[in-house]
Symmetry: none
Subunit: 553 residues, 2 copies
Amino acid sequence: MEPLLIYDTTLRDGTQGENITFTADEKLKIALRLDEMGIHYVEGGWPGSNPRDIRFFDLAKRERFATTRITAFGSTCKAGIPAADDPNLQAILKTGTPAAAIFGKSWPLHVEAIMGNTLAENISMISDSVDFLKTNGLEVIYDAEHFFDGFKESPEYAVQTLAAAADAGADFLVLCDTNGGTLPHEVDAIIRSVKQALEKQGLDAGRMKLGIHTHNDCGMAEANAVSAVNCGAVMVHGTINGYGERCGNADLTTLIPVFNAKMKHTCIPEEKLCGLKSLSRFVSETANIVPLNSRPFVGRSAFAHKGGIHVSAIMKESRAYEHIDPEIVGNQRRVLMSDLAGKSNVEYKAREMGVDLCANGCDSKTIVKAIKQMEDEGYQFDVADGSFKIMLEKFTEQFKPLFDLESFRVTIEKDKDLPCSAHATIKISVDDSHEITAAEGLGPVSALDNALRKALGNFYPDLDTMKLVDFKVRVVDGRDGTAAKVRVFIESRDHDQIWSTIGVSEDIIEASWQALADSFQFKLAKEARKNRSATENPKTKDLKLGWSMSCNA
Amino acid sequence: MEPLLIYDTTLRDGTQGENITFTADEKLKIALRLDEMGIHYVEGGWPGSNPRDIRFFDLAKRERFATTRITAFGSTCKAGIPAADDPNLQAILKTGTPAAAIFGKSWPLHVEAIMGNTLAENISMISDSVDFLKTNGLEVIYDAEHFFDGFKESPEYAVQTLAAAADAGADFLVLCDTNGGTLPHEVDAIIRSVKQALEKQGLDAGRMKLGIHTHNDCGMAEANAVSAVNCGAVMVHGTINGYGERCGNADLTTLIPVFNAKMKHTCIPEEKLCGLKSLSRFVSETANIVPLNSRPFVGRSAFAHKGGIHVSAIMKESRAYEHIDPEIVGNQRRVLMSDLAGKSNVEYKAREMGVDLCANGCDSKTIVKAIKQMEDEGYQFDVADGSFKIMLEKFTEQFKPLFDLESFRVTIEKDKDLPCSAHATIKISVDDSHEITAAEGLGPVSALDNALRKALGNFYPDLDTMKLVDFKVRVVDGRDGTAAKVRVFIESRDHDQIWSTIGVSEDIIEASWQALADSFQFKLAKEARKNRSATENPKTKDLKLGWSMSCNA
């Protein structure tokens, strides 16, 4: 069986979702991750509508994609203008992508009442636009916007628009449920009628490749896509995490495992499926959207068991309450209200980091309890390996601080409409030496970062190689207004490693300080290890720690 | 057509969801709301498993329900024990509910490997338990747990278990997709087979009422319920907001409008449908779970439009991009501002807010350009209506500040391991008066908020009613470490309105100040309007502005 083609539109339709925006660089990172996953098409944006999307296509041009065909989106040309003169179609050509998706109207309501065109004009617009792109050597994906609504009102006209695109050479005819109001049994019935009608018009069934593009306004986006595939659709449109306008698009993190694992209709290579949870998290982190715990397959709760009966049953036989092995999609089982699951996680992680949990008479149960307490307060160690290592060392009394804070004071001043100014004074000690200094910054945390760096620089010249590359703030509980608890993540890197640290407090400066201090302690401990190992065995290169990989993930 | 029966299990299966718990009193409040909505059955809990559920049934006994039949949940009796002696079945009887739901095993894997019973024992357990409850005058809903998994493995046995329940007099046979791994076309095929098999066994088709109980592990909970109804199921189980174990149960806030409004298969009285959004919010508030914006029909984003093309179309014809009138379910349309938006979004929004865009010779094109520029810098107006209004007023020179900042200074100090302390000094002017004051806070923004509130309090006593309810920080571009640009959102409320404001800067305090200042300006302008209208026409009540509705949504 031919693999089902997956067409991702996270970067275009996904950004129609409330609160979803990506910079051109972020779009590129996501596109590369989608390629890694084996997604066949990635719709990068609408080059005719804004400069950011044009920049994305410029960036993408310089990259090599193993599987993914980067696709530019646009509309059919305007009435009365030759397709070759249409700036929107020209912008698509300029991107240099191998494939283009253009949408056209299928519903007389839109053609006449909204666009003010005649039905015949619309047919020419579709036909001319597809023909123009095909003549210029592009693969053409024709998006029949509002196809199902159009078909319900005027089946003959809706089919005519498809036939126009097919006659002009469109490679795929994608039926869009733009408003998301269609139900699975309707999708089924309509696609069967469409296929008959197209065949009646003498169109070559072999060339007719149907696609499906669905929205979730009735909670049916994924079910509608499954319905279409059961009727022979060969291309499925969707977004990662179902991001999209209103109630979102079909969620590819649901559909991919449904196709691959449940329906045995392969879409991406089997061995890539275990990267799905990590892809889902990567996209939600990039969008800075809190991941949905209950998301099928990839959510944190997707394999979480609460009921006592369920837990004892899965211990005997996992399929008793799990429809699929969570590891297939890179997720894991969680047993709620039980220390068992946590203990093995912590032990696994400590081993990976080279921290001896049983040192100094500690036991891992006590540590698990403390971690649960901290996670309850807002810490999240699964994305802050640097702080997690330091915390394990503190618990087992193996932590050796490479500097101590004596005190700091940060001041931010503002006069009328002038921008704020921030400066920090800091006093630290290293062994028995003290250092007090001050620095400015673009804000309080930046001032504190600069001051700490300056103070430590006298003791540790190696700090030059360290850079803070990411700084994220999230409110853990928004209920108390500006006194809410915040969680700060800092990602730092040097020439060979990336590490993340975390701080939690009601005071954003306190939380930032915790993450900042951990990040510097981590770097300094790393350099100390390196110097020790160079002294002990000058020929051994610093071994890259396993967990640095998981920091990157 | 008989109305489709809705069976709510928010209070039982819903509480299996991670982080979902209700007290007995909260359960009662929810049950009363469900009754108001015209829900036919409300499963209150499992009286045999915990004292809280017993208390709920005691409370419920004292209330009068107009439509709802309160239902007690339990399992079939244990093997070898007469049903009459089973404490779990006795607990059901003690609740005094008119109806009981009991679950039994359909899947040999569970009967044998998990429960350690023989297949024949299981059949007796089902039959005896149903018979016992019927003899005691209850309506009996039989939940065939894991029915679809059982049927896939052993169709004959699965049907036998149903026949046992039916023979013993069960009023409803509910087919449960307990693990949520079944797809809609499988539900369809299996139910059709089951009906044939039951009829072959000579069961009276008129008495056989089928129900459906689905979970969302494949994102198909609602589609599976629709599929079952299309095959003749007359009872649908689900929870409000789809709360439930793992990925949740079928979401009744989706299914009810799908049945009533899309399939024209009435389940609740037509006139009650408009209470759906409010019911959804009530349950999420009671569970203290942040409502999901993208939830079909009832979510805040369910009818939110971002793309410029979409907005200009809905202004001509709402069904162009809306599959249903939002008011049918008590929701409303929202037009979002973003760089994907065009002139029509701005004009729509300005009209809604009562700002005259053409005042002082401005034109909306210039404003759109400026908005796009600001959004490029990190502003995001789709979620900050308060700041958007102030910005429109500033552009059109209609903004009248109700206070001016002279200066502030915020200081954060930390000594060794002690927590940070923060205090702020602020000087403001109102007309020609100055005020200087200082305050502490749990962090710099909280200190600034407290100081500003204190300074303004002398001029505007109405400020007491205003509360900051949410504070969100997002790094717009993380590439520059701690000097990254941040975006701060603040949500504020008083007794009748919620509004959001935004600030963007490389300095988090500057960004917070912008959002904070806008929030206070917004509130003060609102009070000023109120006072003016009271003076001009003492009998006219303050007209609620259109956009206050959308702020609240």
